[in-house]
C-alpha cells in the first residue's frame, strides 16, 4: 500500500486538561511528559500517512524538527495540534512582528511518518 510521505499543515499548540494536570503535578511527571510529546492529526491525515494511534511522526517548522507520538484528533485535515510543552517549543516561532507575541498558533509545518530505519 502506498502512503504519502509528507503532508503540509498548520500547527496549533495549546492547553489540554492532561497538560494542565501535568503542570500542576510537576513537569517531571509522567503525565506531563506523555501529554506534551503527542501530536493530534485528523483521521484523514493519519490515513494518508499510513499512521495508527501511537505511531511516531516528525513535525518540522522553520524553527526546528521534533518527533511525537500521534493520536487522532477531531481536526480539519490541514491542522495538527500539539499540547504546550518543551517539544512544541522547538517548533514555535520566536518572531513577534513587533507585537511581543511569538508564533504559538497557525504555524506552517510539514508532518511525516518516522520510518523505522530512521531511528
Amino acid at each position: 500500500m502506498a502512503f504519502i510521505k509528507e503532508v503540509h499543515a498548520i500547527l496549533i499548540t495549546g492547553r489540554t486538561l492532561r497538560q494542565g494536570i501535568g503542570v500542576a503535578e510537576g513537569k517531571d511527571s509522567d503525565v506531563y511528559r506523555e501529554e506534551t510529546s503527542q501530536v493530534e492529526l485528523s483521521a484523514g491525515s493519519m490515513a494518508k500517512l499510513g499512521l495508527k494511534h501511537g505511531d511516531r511522526v516528525e513535525v518540522s517548522t522553520d524553527s526546528g524538527v521534533e518527533t511525537f507520538l500521534c493520536r487522532p484528533g477531531d481536526l480539519p485535515d490541514n491542522v495538527v495540534f500539539v499540547p504546550y510543552g518543551p517539544p512544541a517549543n522547538r517548533l514555535t516561532l520566536n518572531t513577534t512582528e513587533g507585537s511581543g507575541m511569538p508564533g504559538f498558533k497557525g504555524i506552517p509545518c510539514r508532518v511525516r511518518r518516522v520510518i523505522d530505519e530512521d531511528i
Binding site: L75, N89, P102
Partner: protein
C-alpha cells in the same frame, strides 16, 4: 486536622474560591470541590528542592547573595514571569526592576498582552463573571477551550451556572463556539463555527459588517459561509445580555492584537443594540494581577523598561520573547513562571547562556538552566496575598501550611535590599577612588 473552607485555587484565571482543604501535620491531605488540576495542585504542594547555585545545594542566604551579585553586575537584566504569584510579590518585582534599571515583563506578553494592546486602541465593554452567571443568555467562546483550560468555568459562571435571570442554567443560554479545532468546548456548543487557521480576523470582520448593516459579497469568510455569519449575527443581536470570551486562539494567531481589536469592536458595535460584554479568558491564576499591579505602579501593563530611571512601555521591544531572541539582556530573574517550558526554544535557550535566577516553589524546567535557584513558599498554600481573577475581581489567598522557604515577595525584597546595598557601596567606593 484543620479544615479550611472557601479557599481560593490560584491555578487558572477562574480563581474558584470554594475549595475545601484538609491539613494534617503541615500537609494538605484532601482538596475538595476543585477540578482535577486544582486537586493535583494542592496535593502536590510540598517543599521542593533546596536552594541551588551552579547546581550545588547552598544555604538560602548564599543563594540570595549569588542572585544579588548577578543582578548588581548586569547591565540590562530582565525580570520576567510573575503570573503565578501574589500582587504583593508583583509589586516587589517592580521595585527591584526599578532599582536595577531592568526590563520587567510578565507572561501577559505571551498570552493576553495583544488583548491589552487592542484595549488601548478601542476600549473594552466588559463585566464581572457574576454578571455572566446572572444575566448572560448568549455566550461566545472564541479561540478558547475552558472545558480543558478552565474546567469549572461553565458550572460556576458561564454555561450551566444558575443566576438571577438565568434560573435554568444551561437551558437559558445559547452557546456559540468558534475555533480552528472541534474542541471539547465546541462539542457542547449550540453553534460551532470552524474557522480556517489564521483567518479569525476575516470572520470577525464579516460579523461586524453584518451587525453594521452591510451586505456580504464573498462566498466564504475564513471558512465560514455568509449564511452561517448571518445566523450567528441573529443570535448575537437577539441576546438580552451577551458575553464574548476570547482566548489564545485570537491573541496567538496571525494578526494578534488586530484580531482582538476586531473582536472588541464587534462587541462595542453590539452594544448599540443590546447589552454585551467581552472578557479575556485569562490563563494563569494571577496574570490579570500582573497587568493591574504594573499599571498602578508604572502606568503600563507589561513590556516595561526602567533603564532611564522611569518606566517606558514598548511591546515588541521590552517583551520577553524579543529581549531573549535578540540577546539583549545579560541576566534574567524568572519569578513564578517557567519560560523554558513555555517560550519558543530559540528564545528560551538563551536563558541558559546568561546567568539566570529562578524564584519558584517548584524546580521548574527553567530552574534546570539557571545559575541560581531560590525555592519559595507556594502562594495560596504556604503564603498569603491577593490575586486578580480574569474579570479583575480581587481575591485573598490564604496560607494553610508552613513552608521552610520565604514567599516570593520576601525573596524579592531581600534581593532588592541586597542590590541597593551593593550599589551604595559601589558608589562609596567610586567616591573614595
Amino acid at each position: 486536622m484543620r479544615t479550611f473552607e472557601n479557599t481560593v485555587c490560584s491555578f487558572c484565571g477562574s480563581l474558584c474560591d470554594d475549595i475545601v482543604l484538609e491539613v494534617e501535620d503541615n500537609v494538605i491531605t484532601k482538596a475538595r470541590g476543585g477540578c482535577a488540576i486544582s486537586r493535583r495542585k494542592f496535593l502536590s504542594a510540598i517543599d521542593s528542592e533546596a536552594p541551588l547555585v551552579d547546581g550545588k545545594e547552598v544555604k538560602f542566604d548564599e543563594a540570595i547573595n549569588a542572585a544579588v551579585e548577578i543582578l548588581a553586575k548586569a547591565r540590562h537584566p530582565l525580570i520576567y514571569g510573575l503570573s503565578s504569584t501574589s500582587s504583593e510579590a508583583q509589586a516587589a518585582a517592580v521595585k527591584l526592576g526599578e532599582t536595577l534599571g531592568a526590563s520587567v515583563d510578565s507572561t501577559s506578553s505571551v498570552c493576553h498582552g495583544p488583548g491589552t494592546v487592542a484595549k488601548q486602541l478601542v476600549g473594552l465593554p466588559t463585566c464581572t463573571l457574576g454578571e455572566v452567571k446572572n444575566r448572560a443568555d448568549v455566550v461566545v467562546f472564541w479561540g478558547c477551550n475552558p472545558v480543558e483550560a478552565h474546567p469549572r468555568h461553565f458550572s460556576r459562571y458561564s454555561v450551566q451556572a444558575k443566576g438571577l435571570l438565568r434560573e435554568q442554567g444551561r437551558r437559558d443560554r445559547k452557546v456559540i463556539a468558534v475555533d480552528v479545532r472541534r474542541t471539547a468546548t465546541a462539542r457542547i456548543a449550540d453553534i460551532f463555527l470552524q474557522v480556517a487557521p489564521n483567518e479569525d480576523f476575516q470572520v470577525l470582520t464579516a460579523l461586524r459588517a453584518v451587525i453594521n448593516g452591510n451586505e456580504l459579497r464573498e462566498e466564504t469568510f475564513g471558512g465560514i459561509s455568509p449564511e452561517e455569519i448571518q445566523d450567528v449575527c441573529d443570535v448575537l443581536q437577539s441576546a438580552e445580555y451577551g458575553v464574548f470570551f476570547f482566548g489564545m486562539g485570537l491573541t496567538m494567531t496571525q494578526g494578534t492584537h488586530h484580531n482582538v481589536r476586531q473582536a472588541l469592536s464587534l462587541v462595542r458595535d453590539l452594544n448599540r443594540k443590546t447589552a454585551f460584554g467581552v472578557i479575556p479568558m485569562r490563563g494563569h491564576g494571577n496574570v490579570a494581577g500582573t497587568e493591574t499591579v504594573l499599571a498602578w505602579q508604572t502606568g503600563y501593563p507589561f513590556g516595561i523598561n526602567f533603564s532611564r530611571g522611569y518606566p517606558r512601555y514598548s511591546p515588541g521591544e521590552f517583551t520577553v520573547t524579543d529581549l531573549l531572541s535578540r540577546r539583549e539582556v545579560d541576566a534574567a530573574l524568572i519569578v513564578a513562571s517557567d519560560p523554558a517550558a513555555t517560550l519558543p526554544a530559540r528564545s528560551a535557550n538563551y536563558l541558559g547562556e546568561i546567568p539566570t535566577i529562578v524564584i519558584d516553589p517548584y524546580y521548574s524546567a527553567t530552574a534546570k538552566l539557571a545559575r541560581v535557584f531560590l525555592p519559595s513558599a507556594p502562594v495560596g498554600v504556604a503564603a498569603s496575598g491577593t490575586v486578580y481573577r480574569m474579570d479583575q475581581v480581587p481575591l485573598p489567598l490564604r496560607k494553610v501550611i508552613d513552608s521552610k522557604y520565604p514567599s516570593d515577595h520576601d525573596i524579592l525584597l531581600a534581593i532588592d535590599k541586597g542590590v541597593t546595598a551593593c550599589s551604595a557601596s559601589k558608589e562609596a567606593l567610586s567616591m573614595i577612588l
